[in-house]
Amino acid sequence: MKLKIFTTLLVAAALALPLAASAGAYELNVPSLTYRTGPYAPNGIPFANGYADYWNLLNERDGGIEGIKINLFECETAYNTQQGVECYENTKGQNGGSLIYQPLSTGITYQLIPKVTEDNIPLFSMGYGRTSAANGKVFPWIFNFPATYWDGATAIMQYVADREGGMDKLKGKKVALVYHNSAYGKEPIRTLEVMAAKYGFELQLLPVDHPGQEQKATWLQVRKDRPDWVLLWGWGVMNQVAIKEAASVRYPMDHFVGIWWSASENDVLPAGDEANGYLAATVHAAGAGFPLHQDIFKFLYDKGKGAGERERVGEVLYNRGVLAAMWTAEAMRNAMKIHKTKEITPAMLRDGFETLKVDEKRLAELGLKGFTYGIEITCANHSGPGKAAIQQWDAKAKQWNIISKFYDRMDEITGPLIEEDSAGFAKESNITPRSCG
């Protein structure tokens, strides 16, 4: 009987929940779909902390955006699509409506693309999710700037070509792609295939199944075939094991390039000194040396209000969380400006995103000079400039250093692919692409 009473209480509490939402002053509702548990938690935690710290900093230091407080609330997805959907449905109407979603998961992003389009809420998948969402004509509510996986692939190959001495030197080279055998890992294959055909290098595909703790067979093949370059498209434990195995088979680390999700401190630290020289693409700098980080220390961590541990501020994924929050906040500011109201709706925020411009000057104002590059979003192009640089791990100093320029994407390669993939989606889902003025 006790059990029954307990259950009844639970039901009552759960039912009472939607009523509990208070109708106070207008706030900017920012839900944060985190995964601090589950197999990918080690990657989810620093990102969520960076994301939270930036919003909290705005509240603590500036009193919000243009005087409007930010209401940040987390919902735990455990990187699980089903729980992601639950979180989305649960939070989208909370406190009068959420403004923006950033799930940090390819699966949940694909899941939410049709839903947010219907519910008219912008979705910002920063450097992940569906690449062809770059086409703003087909995906008006989805933003995936500053760069897509396909941009990343072309940037990495340009860096490879630089090291080899020019695009024409790629001919006859052998490039292996070690990838997470899922939608995320398969993203770059098309692009690399097109490039392989165009520049005459050989592409070897080596899939690794989730979770990727056992990659012996993959690395034996690398050891046997000795590809000139190995690219890594991994996530979670797969990254750590891949870097360790690569070191074990004595694959030179400076010919081993990861995408930006295979490039956190978590991934290289377990391999110790052997990871020294590992390369990875990135869209922003690592480290806590920026004025903004000093503010984060001053206004949050010194007062015990930080989301994570002090010494982990400035990690790659932490900074990525900061970056995602920063661009979103700028889009909100922009939306307030163009709509001349401080109480913005999701639709206004979308307009804010679509005309977003954050240049070097503005970055310096934000205390992020040299943190990333300037971006400009348009109605048709939701993926921004698509630039990426290469960073290298220094195992002695335990830090990442950017060692190349920011490469522009190769529009002649990715453009047609995006056109093709988004057209396929539009046809399948009966969407008529809108025209961009």
């Binding site: 639970l10 039901v11 509490a13 759960a14 009472a16 929940l17 509990a20 985190t34 601090r36 548990t37 987390e74 919902c75 735990e76 455990a78 699509t81 089903q82 959907v85 639950e86 449905e89 649960n90 989208k92 109407g93 390819t106 699966g107 694909y110 899941q111 693309i113 049709p114 839903k115 389009t117 219907e118 519910d119 569906r130 690449t131 062809s132 055998n181 899922s182 939608a183 995320y184 398969k186 993203e187 294959i189 098309r190 199944d209 989730h210 692919l417 993939d421 396929g424 989606f425 399948e428 889902s429 009966n430």
Partner: protein, 358 residues
């Protein structure tokens, strides 16, 4: 006092053999059905549809299918995720190849395809038994997921292998896609579940169900009295896979609307549905619903209670939620090892005597 069968006389064989021989049971079922069919659709919105009711219905259907195999025929299967993937991908291929095809037909055909696949992977059951059989179905699980991930034809050659459900209508109502009304989606899934539950209930009390149960209780003895093991085991695999395939189809078309095979149909789905069957009660149609209800609704309930009600941070709440689920599972098994359905039965028996238990 209220729940008593005294005075209800059966005057015909049909009445005696009815699914619900007791009048009060029929009333309860009628009330539940009326509420589910008429009252719920009026109030249901996005959250309740997508996060609560659709998962419950889809998993209940899958658990029902698995219960036929595990609970009635005694063959352990850990291939549920793979078979659901067959259903989902069959539905996707059918509906994109023949956009005009009725969604009900699409789902039924997907079920048939899955049944065929299920029979193939059920063949080893003729030789392998018990936990060892789990390996054959696990082979199915991993192989099918690999296949749908690898062969581009299955996902219409898109770049990543994600499949997305186009909008489809039935009788002029939009059922799939994000624009579909919550109540329509819910009613569509619900009608599938009701029809299939009735079919299942009648299957298991008929000749074929008795055949399955005789195999489950002792296969050699069953063989000796003339039950053909080949016929009964494979029919159980076929029917079970059919149910699971339709559940997979519903999961993809109506509930999620987009899916990626490695994520949506992984091994954890297989385990989840098996847990539902065991927690709910092996060999019980009602148990499949109770098990699905418990494992789908309980985490959401706990989460909303802790995060919304008590204001615990979502992370801690998640850990506590997992722990609590574990404790509850163990507790239920200690209180009643034969599942929630048995618990319900005991309650009913006590009710009959209440308030004079002597």
């Amino acid at each position: 006092m209220l729940y008593r069968e005294a005075g209800q006389f059966k005057t015909s064989y049909e009445a005696d053999q009815a699914v619900f021989p007791i009048r009060q049971d029929r009333w309860v079922i009628a009330v539940v059905l009326i509420v589910a069919l008429a009252a719920v659709p009026l109030v249901i919105e996005d959250y309740w549809t997508n996060a609560v009711m659709l998962p419950f219905l889809v998993y209940a259907l899958a658990a029902l299918g698995l219960n036929i195999l595990v609970g009635y025929c005694g063959q352990i299967s850990l291939g549920t995720g793979g078979f659901m993937a067959v259903g989902a991908f069959a539905a996707f291929k059918l509906t994109t190849m023949f956009p005009g095809m009725n969604l009900i037909a699409v789902l039924l055909l997907s079920g048939l395809v899955t049944a065929g696949v299920g029979v193939v992977f059920g063949l080893p059951s003729l030789r392998i038994k018990g936990f060892y059989l789990a390996v054959a179905t696990l082979a199915a699980q991993f192989f099918l997921v690999w296949l749908f991930n690898k062969v581009e034809w299955f996902y219409n050659y898109n770049a990543t292998g994600q499949i997305t459900m186009p909008p489809r209508e039935i009788f002029g109502f939009l059922v799939t896609g994000p624009a579909a009304k919550p109540a329509v989606k819910y009613l569509f899934a619900l009608s599938f579940v009701i029809v299939f539950a009735v079919v299942a209930k009648n299957l298991v009390r008929g000749r074929i169900g008795r055949m399955w149960m005789s195999i489950r209780d002792m296969d050699i003895a069953a063989e000796l009295i003339g039950v053909r093991p080949l016929h009964s085991k494979l029919s159980a695999f076929a029917v079970s896979s059919f149910y699971i395939g339709v559940a997979g189809g519903l999961l993809f078309t109506v509930w999620l609307g987009a899916a990626e095979v490695t994520e949506a149909f992984g091994i954890d789905k297989s385990f989840l549905v098996l847990f539902m069957v065991i927690i709910g009660g092996l060999g019980s149609v009602l148990g499949s619903f109770l098990g699905a209800g418990f494992l789908v609704l309980m985490p959401i309930l706990l989460k909303n209670f802790m995060v919304g009600g008590l204001g615990i941070s979502p992370v801690v709440a998640k850990h506590v939620e997992i722990t609590t689920m574990g404790v509850l599972i163990i507790l239920f098994l200690i209180v009643e090892p034969h599942g929630l359905a048995r618990l319900w039965q005991i309650t009913k028996e006590k009710l009959r005597l209440w308030p004079f238990p002597y």
